[in-house]
């Protein structure tokens, strides 16, 4: 297993946001994490990426323990993420945004940055090439020179994904990649995610658009009130009584 959560809990004061959660993400999969509002999905993402500490349990990535590490170190181990409220370096151009992320692949030292050695310049060029290739793949080449904060919503979302990929991550965690997108843009994102899977990138995503989740995911985990209530293929999940129960009153999953 690529990612393994065992007995993970997180308490906020009196609220147990995530309760004794165990789950695994298989390499090369597109894995969906769904659940009603307040189920603890985003908290799980924050726990995996080290943004908030665990109350109990442990998380392993490629067999190594990552819980307790700094977010930057977890990213270095190969996990990158996007945020629900799309976060970018708003004053930077699209290309500069990608460069910050791409730099990870080659460690920045104070010395090289001061003396601009030949090796440093070669690394810079590699980061630049890598960034441009990714922008090209996601149709952002034409806006590469534009300031990120002024991009349309769709491009901001695409840029956030490019940045996560530019780190060279093996596991990419996407918090609502479809939110606020038009139907056609959602279809486009689905295609991109499938293409990434073909290239060997593992994807873990939280998404409210059930049609998109059921259409793209290989495995789906359902959370409710911090508890895992179901896990399986999209087909299994759609017919699972516990899942239907959790969503009752709102809408039937897959509707």
């Amino acid at each position: 297993m690529l990612l393994e959560l065992s007995g993970v809990s997180r308490r906020f004061g009196g609220l147990l946001a995530v309760a004794d959660l165990s789950m695994t993400v298989a390499p090369g999969a597109i894995h969906g994490l769904i659940g009603p509002n307040g189920a603890g999905k985003s908290t799980v993402f924050n726990l995996i990426t080290g943004v908030i500490p665990l109350t109990a349990g442990r998380i392993h990535f490629k067999g190594e323990r990552i819980s307790g590490l700094r977010p930057s170190e977890i990213c270095r181990r190969g996990i990158a993420r996007t945020f629900q409220a799309t976060t970018l370096f708003r004053e930077y151009t699209v290309l500069q945004n990608v460069l910050v992320a791409a730099h990870l692949a080659t460690t920045p030292g104070l010395g090289p940055a001061l003396f601009w050695s030949r090796r440093y310049r070669q690394r810079e060029q590699r980061a630049r090439d890598r960034g441009r290739a990714l922008l090209d793949a996601l149709g952002l080449t034409t806006v590469a020179g534009q300031v990120a904060g002024k991009l349309p919503h769709r491009d901001q979302k695409a840029l956030a994904l490019v940045m996560a990929l530019a780190t060279g991550a093996e596991l990419v965690i996407l918090d609502e990649p479809m939110a606020g997108l038009a139907e056609q843009e959602k279809a486009e994102t689905t295609r991109v995610l499938r293409r990434l899977r073909e290239q060997g990138v593992t994807i873990l995503l939280v998404e409210h658009d059930m049609k998109a989740v059921m259409g793209v995911c290989d495995t789906v985990t359902v959370l409710d009130h911090g508890l895992r209530i179901a896990e399986g293929t999209p087909r299994e999940i759609q017919t699972n009584p516990a899942v239907i129960e959790a969503y009752l009153g709102a809408e039937e999953p897959g509707a």
Partner: protein
């Protein structure tokens, strides 16, 4: 503003600073003008290193204290132990940098207003130590006096205004070159990314704490270097030289120039040091004028004077844009 990262800009900018510094003695050797020019260059190293820290989102109100630490360290080493100025120049800066490691490690546990307050508290502690404690060592309220000018180096004397100016010019250009290079490298790119969205930077693999600490220590090294020069240039040190008032001036110089670009402090320091000289007659009221200028800058050019041409251009384009739009609207049925 995101700095453009062309290769020619940093070289041209530092070249211009070096050229201006080298040209001044050809224009005048009047000791007053040399004095002012030396002060400009010394302030330049302070504002540029202060801005290096601002670029990662830290407003370090103790920056001036590290200048003081460098100054007192060198003054004591030279007067008490007879160490050469050419050694203490580096030792003083290194002492400031070494103290910056634990202090930065504590202060950088918090950010924003809390960081501002912690560093401010620290600067007061340093000032009080220089003023009230170890009077035999630091000279207390009457100051540390009798600091000699730099000793000879390779047969060159450093007792004249021109030689001291030359020394400061070399130091300032070296500092400017280093900081400009950093700004236009991936280090600068990352630093400003941290200021814009620190959590995003962290999750993209940037160790935010370490990056901030690096800029804190590096900035303190430069401040220490300026402090050593200051000690042997003025030859007397008072705790108030490193108190709140000079710190506020440092903030004003930097902010007026603009903190978004590495060139902002250069513009701000040159203009404001000259302004300070012209306003000398006003004595303590000069700070009122600075306050007014700061407020006007914040209102009309929040990105600082260095960004003014761009701001004006954008405003003009907007004006022109709304006009075309208005015309277009008029044509609509």
């Amino acid at each position: 503003m995101a700095p453009s990262r062309g290769a020619g800009v940093p070289a041209a900018g530092v070249g211009l600073i070096a050229l201006a510094a080298a040209a001044l003695p050809l224009v005048t050797r009047d000791s007053y003008y040399l004095d002012v020019a030396t002060t400009i260059l010394m302030n330049l190293t302070l504002t540029m290193s202060f801005r290096l820290q601002i670029s990662t989102g830290q407003i370090n109100m103790a920056h001036i204290s590290f200048m003081g630490i460098g100054a007192y360290a060198s003054a004591l080493l030279v007067t008490r132990l007879g160490v050469s100025f050419w050694a203490t120049l580096w030792i003083g800066a290194l002492v400031a940098a070494a103290l910056a490691v634990p202090i930065g490690a504590v202060a950088l546990r918090v950010s924003g207003p809390y960081y501002f307050l912690i560093t401010f508290a620290f600067s007061e502690v340093v000032r009080l130590i220089f003023n009230n404690f170890f009077e035999g060592l630091f000279g207390g309220p009457s100051g540390l006096v009798g600091i000699p000018k730099p000793d000879r180096l390779f047969g060159l004397a450093f007792d004249g205004k021109l030689a001291l100016y030359g020394l400061m010019a070399v130091l300032a250009v070296a500092v400017a070159l280093a900081l400009v290079r950093l700004e236009y490298s991936r280090f600068g790119l990352t630093a400003s990314a941290i200021r814009q969205a620190d959590l995003l930077a962290e999750t993209l693999g940037v160790n935010v704490f370490r990056s901030k600490l690096t800029t804190f220590v590096l900035g303190s090294f430069v401040a220490g270097l300026a402090g050593v020069f200051f000690a042997h240039f003025r030859q007397v040190l008072h705790s108030s030289d490193f108190g709140l008032e000079p710190m506020v001036l440092l903030v004003v110089f930097t902010v007026i120039g603009g903190t978004g670009s590495v060139w902002g402090p250069v513009v701000g320091t040159v203009l404001m040091t000259i302004a300070a000289e012209l306003l000398r007659e006003l004595h303590h009221y000069e700070i009122l004028v600075f306050g007014a200028v700061l407020i006007l800058t914040m209102l009309w050019a929040p990105e600082g004077l260095v960004a003014l041409p761009g701001t004006v251009r954008r405003m003009l384009r907007k004006l022109r844009g709304t006009r075309t739009e208005a015309v277009g609207a008029g044509l609509a049925p």
